[in-house]
């Protein structure tokens, strides 16, 4: 398996490289590498290796290497191993990154990376639901913790003024004295405690045991879970030594210590037992760190290393058992020693180390822990109960270690194993365990020689000048810690013996508390909050309906317009009734009535509403004339006409609606109506108010004067509005025709897929009646009625065609000097086309007129753009117009402005777009005939 070789070589290489750094980090030496990344914000790619980081790196790389070797044999042939090893190596890199980051933000980057890779590793067997859930929970908890850590680190940066670890570590006093200390501490601790599975965030770790065992051995015993306590050690000089630190860290540590050990005793899953044991041991380390004493810190660092060695080996052993027997359930395992003597022996030694049996490394750090526990650090209840708690937890630890060994390896031969014939694993699979167990023994027996110098290097780098005197010998005489150890060993053994019967058959988990599954609670909360609450809230504070949305738009628009006025105490001028033209007022009285009528009739009398809307439009048009804006009047009128026809074309496809059935109006609907009415009234009044205010305000020194003065001399036109449109602000017009064009295309595209509702599929009733009338009579044939009907109108409408074309040309030509222009002309021409469709029907019109609307549109945009671009060749910016009078034979002096060419583009586009829209709508009637025919054919078949 090539991947495993690559992975192993990589791990080994890292180990060797790290080892080579050793001389540089002894005696407080620090290696630094600085790369710029985001220097403005103090985030740099700074790597920093001191003694502590070195020790930890060695641990990561060393155990990493062993895990790769182990996994080489553990993973099945069918597993996608390249993925496994790449994730594993990536994780290792991230973990090393945490350890050697010299910038705390960089540290948090690696921190989150370990969460991500651990997620991928836990869920490696993702077809297993437990793996998925466990991975997700681990990621959620540690990811959230990582965010908290980031906040804490940002606060540290705020306090210290730098994210550089060196600067932070020397600023302990500043930090502890700062008002932001507590929040920073709390957030950093949230990060650390979640990662290290400390109470109350411990529950993710047992669920992460769905991971392949090498992962558990690496991540969940030796490295990732140590990241939290690593962080506590790392920031120990900067953060520790306060009451807040003591209480927060200590409380979490002590509870975790006891609870983890207690839970561990009652696990039935081997890996579950180890997981809870890990939790408990991490609690021990946390407790030590809470104490704030240098000696305790030494013990903590020492225990980190020790725990990594024995726990990793135990996980590997558990993996072998699982691998060989097919189960990890201690109720089914029994008497395996006869099959697995070597593994059994190794596991026994490692368990003994875990239980704190003398001559093994676990014993040494535990003794140090006991020694610290009896000291007084900060006078409090916590302080006083610590010795008892420590002893109790230790006794539990003895009990579960004993149980691990006794249940699995001793007793009668197993009876119902999934794999009946277990045997020793391959040599190389066992060797990592052997190596680790030997390490336990060596450290346990000759600590000062073996681990001593390295530990010292690490301790010095953390504590610096505060490094205390400590002795790494096995025998310190008969003292309180030794007695506590003895009590724990004896008590633990007795405890195990008394619980043995119960444990052999009991359910997973401790009595009573077994039902209090953190995982279950967590998932419930997650589902409740992130799913049900969220959906309820989304429904309550959001909507998928249109009406509330428009209501919001209207209401906020109203507030945005009037609130500033109200808040700043705006007062409008006195209302002036003078100067009102009675005819104008009368016209608008009418217009207002028409508007009300439109609103009133729009529901049941669509056609009537359309007619009245046309009336309102007409009044608007008159207004434009009255107020000296003939251009607007013409445009408004033409648009009005085309829009009416468009809506009529659409009306055919809308459902029939009759007033007859008056639905019972519910109270809610009534309320809604009232609210809408109130909103409408209020908006109307507000709009009137603002309109009045702005209209009566003297006109400011506007840009308008410039246009009035220069339209003729510079733009060559007397119709200032048109000169603005095609010259001063020609760019607006260019955009405007783009809008029209794209809308036409959209309409076309949408209608190509249009299929009417079933009840609109039939011929309109009028046509059916008329057709059947024609067919009933021998002298008539279908279509006679309509032909007679349109006989006279179509003659007139046809003859109007050239007339309207002439008129369109007229409107276009005069635009620059008089009301008119490309847009009006375009609309006029499209009305000419429309009229032919009306007169003769689609077929008739298209037989005769080949209008290619898309070409008109394209040509329009191109003409307008080309006119603009033309200016470039004379060294002017886009759209610079040019005009002069040209002398034409017969005709005389004619103004010729390039703006006219631009207007031609507008004209062309407007014709194309309008015709495209109208024709696309008109074609539906033909299309439906076809669809109907297809449907009919289908029905016959079916």
């Amino acid at each position: 398996m090539l991947p495993s070789w690559v992975a192993g070589a990589t791990a080994l290489l890292s180990l060797l490289i790290i080892a080579a750094f050793y001389p540089s980090v002894t005696n407080g030496g620090v290696l630094r590498f600085e790369g710029t990344w985001l220097p403005q914000l103090g985030l740099n790619f700074t790597l920093r290796m001191d003694g502590f980081a070195w020790l930890f790196s060695m641990l990561i790389a060393g155990i990493g290497f062993l895990v790769v070797v182990y996994a080489r044999y553990y993973m099945s042939e069918d597993d996608p191993v390249p993925r496994f090893f790449s994730f594993l190596l990536a994780f290792m890199g991230a973990m090393l990154g945490i350890v050697i980051s010299g910038n705390v933000i960089l540290l948090s980057v690696f921190w989150e990376l370990t969460s991500i890779f651990s997620f991928l590793l836990i869920s490696y067997w993702h077809n297993n639901a437990a793996a998925r859930d466990g991975a997700r929970m681990a990621l959620t908890i540690t990811g959230i913790g990582g965010f908290c850590l980031l906040i804490g680190l940002l606060l540290l940066g705020n306090i210290v003024g730098s994210y550089d670890l060196d600067k932070i570590l020397v600023a302990g006093d500043v930090i502890r004295g700062h008002s932001l200390y507590v929040p920073a501490l709390v957030f950093i601790l949230l990060g650390a405690l979640t990662k290290s599975a400390q109470f109350p965030f411990h529950f993710w770790l047992p669920n992460a045991m769905a991971a392949p065992t090498p992962v558990s051995a690496f991540l969940h015993s030796a490295t990732m879970v140590k990241a939290g306590v690593f962080l506590l050690v790392r920031f120990w000089p900067a953060l520790s030594g306060t009451y807040e630190w003591f209480y927060l860290v200590g409380l979490a540590g002590i509870i975790t210590l006891v609870l983890g050990a207690y839970f561990a005793m009652f696990q039935q899953d081997l890996k579950g037992l180890l997981a809870y044991s890990t939790i408990s041991h991490l609690g021990l380390i946390t407790t030590l760190l809470s104490l704030g004493s240098p000696l305790a810190t030494v013990a903590a660092i020492f225990h980190m290393v020790n725990h990594a060695t024995f726990k990793a080996s135990l996980f590997m052993a558990a993996g072998i058992i699982d691998h060989e027997t097919g189960t990890r359930d201690m109720r089914r395992l029994s008497g395996l020693f006869r099959y697995l003597p070597i593994t059994g022996t190794l596991a026994m030694v490692a368990s003994a180390a875990m239980a704190g049996v003398p001559l093994l490394n676990g014993f040494l750090s535990k003794e140090m822990f006991f020694a610290e526990a009896v000291e007084t650090h900060a006078d409090s209840i916590l302080d006083r109960i610590l010795p008892y708690v420590a002893t109790l937890a230790s006794a539990f630890s003895v009990a579960y270690s004993l149980r691990f060994i006794h249940t699995v390896f001793f007793g009668p031969p197993p009876t119902d194993l999934p794999k009946p014939k277990p045997h020793e694993p391959p040599r190389w699979m066992r060797s990592p365990i052997e190596l680790l167990v030997v390490a336990c023994l060596i450290v346990g027996i000759i600590p000062a020689v073996s681990i001593g110098p390295f530990l010292h290097t690490a301790v010095v780098s953390v504590l610096g000048a505060d490094t205390p005197q400590y002795s790494l010998s096995i025998w310190h005489g008969v003292n309180l810690p030794l007695i506590m150890s003895a009590i724990a060993l004896v008590g633990g053994t007795l405890l195990y013996l008394s619980l043995r019967k119960y444990l052999a058959t009991c359910e997973d988990g401790p009595p009573i508390l077994r039902n209090l599954k953190g995982q279950r609670i967590f998932e419930r909360i997650l589902v409740e909050v992130s799913w049900r609450w969220a959906r309820t809230l989304e429904r309550r504070f959001g909507t998928r309906n249109l009406q509330p949305q428009l209501r919001w738009v209207v209401a906020t628009g109203f507030l945005a317009g009037l609130l500033p006025l109200y808040l700043s105490g705006f007062e409008t001028r006195e209302i002036a009734f003078s100067g009102i033209d009675p005819a104008f007022a009368a016209i608008w009285l009418l217009g207002i009535c028409l508007a009300f009528g439109t609103a009133y009739l729009a529901k049941y009398h669509r056609l009537a509403a359309l007619v009245m809307l046309g009336g309102v439009g007409l009044i608007v048009c008159i207004t434009f004339v009255w107020l000296s804006a003939p251009d607007l009047a013409i445009t408004q009128l033409l648009v009005e006409i085309v829009t009416t026809v468009l809506i009529l074309l659409g009306l055919r496809w809308l459902p029939k609606r009759t007033e007859g059935l008056v639905e019972a109006i519910s109270l809610r609907a009534r309320f809604r109506r009232f609210r809408d009415l109130a909103l409408a009234v209020v908006c109307g009044i507000g709009m009137s108010f603002i309109a009045y205010a702005v209209m009566t305000m003297p006109v400011p020194d506007a840009i308008a004067n410039y246009f009035l003065e220069n339209a003729y001399s510079q733009g060559g036109g007397r119709n200032v509005v048109n000169v603005i449109l095609v010259d001063f602000r020609g760019f607006d017009t260019l955009g405007e025709i783009a809008v029209l064009g794209v809308v036409a295309l959209t309409v076309f595209a949408l209608l190509r897929r249009f299929r009417p509702a079933d009840d609109s599929m039939d011929l309109p009733e009028q046509q059916r009646i008329q057709n059947s009338f024609d067919e009933d009579r021998p002298e008539r044939s279908a279509g006679d009625t309509v032909r007679d009907y349109l006989l006279v109108p179509s003659v007139i409408m046809t003859w109007l065609f050239p007339v309207i074309i002439t008129f369109a040309v007229y409107i276009f030509m005069r635009g620059h000097d008089m009301p008119g222009g490309g847009f009006s002309a375009g609309l006029t021409l499209s009305i000419a086309f429309l009229l032919q469709y009306l007169a003769g029907g689609t077929r008739w019109a298209e037989d005769r007129l080949r209008i290619l609307p898309l070409r008109w549109m394209g040509a329009g945009i191109l003409t307008a753009s080309a006119t603009g671009i033309g200016a470039w060749f004379f060294g002017y910016p886009f759209l610079t117009s040019h005009f002069q009078y040209v002398e034409l034979p017969l005709i005389g002096k004619m103004p010729a402005a390039t703006a006219l060419l631009f207007d031609l583009g507008v004209f062309s586009l407007v014709v194309g777009s309008t015709v495209l829209i109208l024709v696309a709508l008109a074609h539906q009637s033909i299309r439906i005939n076809r669809l109907r025919a297809i449907d009919a054919a289908r029905t016959e078949e079916g």
Partner: protein, 93 residues
């Protein structure tokens, strides 16, 4: 003198036309049939056009002529479409 005559005549004419428009609108609102409403709109158009012409006389400007011309020439298109919709249920067949 001329000014007074013209002013009075124009004002009265405008008010009469406005009144005619108002009456047409009443039909537009009341119906009873769609035909009546549409003829109402047509009448409204015609009277509005006349109003514009009188406005032109009142102000002495020819500039409003085109607007009136557009109403006179193309105003019927909307009503024709409406009428055809009534008769055939479809504007363009």
């Amino acid at each position: 003198m001329s000014a007074i005559i013209l002013f009075t005549a124009v004002s009265i004419a405008q008010l009469m036309l406005a009144a005619a428009m108002a009456i047409a609108s009443v039909r537009m609102f009341r119906g009873p049939r769609a035909q009546d409403r549409i003829i109402g709109l047509d009448t409204l158009y015609i009277n509005a056009m006349l109003l514009l012409v009188t406005f032109g006389i009142g102000t002495g400007r020819v500039i409003y002529f085109e607007a009136a011309l557009v109403m006179g020439m193309l105003g019927f298109v909307a009503t024709v479409a409406l009428a055809k919709f009534l008769m055939r249920g479809e504007v363009i067949e």
